[in-house]
Symmetry: C2
């Protein structure tokens, strides 16, 4: 991400959501309710421990998720959405609705969307 010097709250929220797995994590927490770390990891297939930890920390710093650690000996940590996190549910729903519609319209057929397709891909 470039050095946008933005002061623009939109930009901040985008940098928050834009990370690779972020919305997926929020979605799971919103849909399945609070979950423990391991369950969450299994619910987001393909994510690495490192990534999941990092994203959760970041969402926590933003006040979007809470973290509750039980000081038992194999520690049990649970994450959930704060009210602020629930604010995001609307955005996610709106996106999901569009995604559904576009899918029925066949937008995602030859799906080479998203990447910096041309310059340095697969060198």
């Amino acid at each position: 991400m470039p050095r946008t010097p933005p002061q623009c709250p939109m930009d901040s929220i985008l940098r928050l959501l834009m990370g690779p797995w972020t919305t997926h994590i929020i979605w799971v927490l919103s849909d399945q309710g609070p979950q423990r770390f391991g369950v969450l990891k299994r619910a987001v297939p393909g994510i690495s421990t490192r990534m999941l930890t990092e994203r959760l920390r970041m969402l926590q710093r933003a006040g979007v998720v809470w973290r509750e650690q039980a000081e038992t000996i194999p520690p049990a940590v649970t994450y959930g959405l704060t009210p602020r996190g629930n604010d995001l549910r609307g955005v996610l729903d709106a996106m999901g609705e569009i995604a559904e519609r576009w899918k029925t319209e066949g937008v995602f057929e030859g799906d080479d969307l998203g990447g910096a397709a041309s310059p340095n891909s697969r060198l």
Copy 2:
């Protein structure tokens, strides 16, 4: 972005929007109407020609923007939102609303949101 093998339309739409400048570009086209390349570039301060071109091409492939080239000698190219592009306006508005609210709540004060803050930042 990792190799999400997703088949999930949400994922496709996220990969579409997630690029660094993408939403900003869409926002400008939605707010100011169709614009020529140069104007657009000036409206998204900090973006490089390369990036702007690439993002526009991608949005075009997704059917979100249209491109109209006048074959005059200094070529004049205009970009605008398709109806599909306008679908996204709602999502953007929803995000903008939240962003406003969070700003008044002071969420973005020590703004180190978004990045992979811990491991390799600023080495």
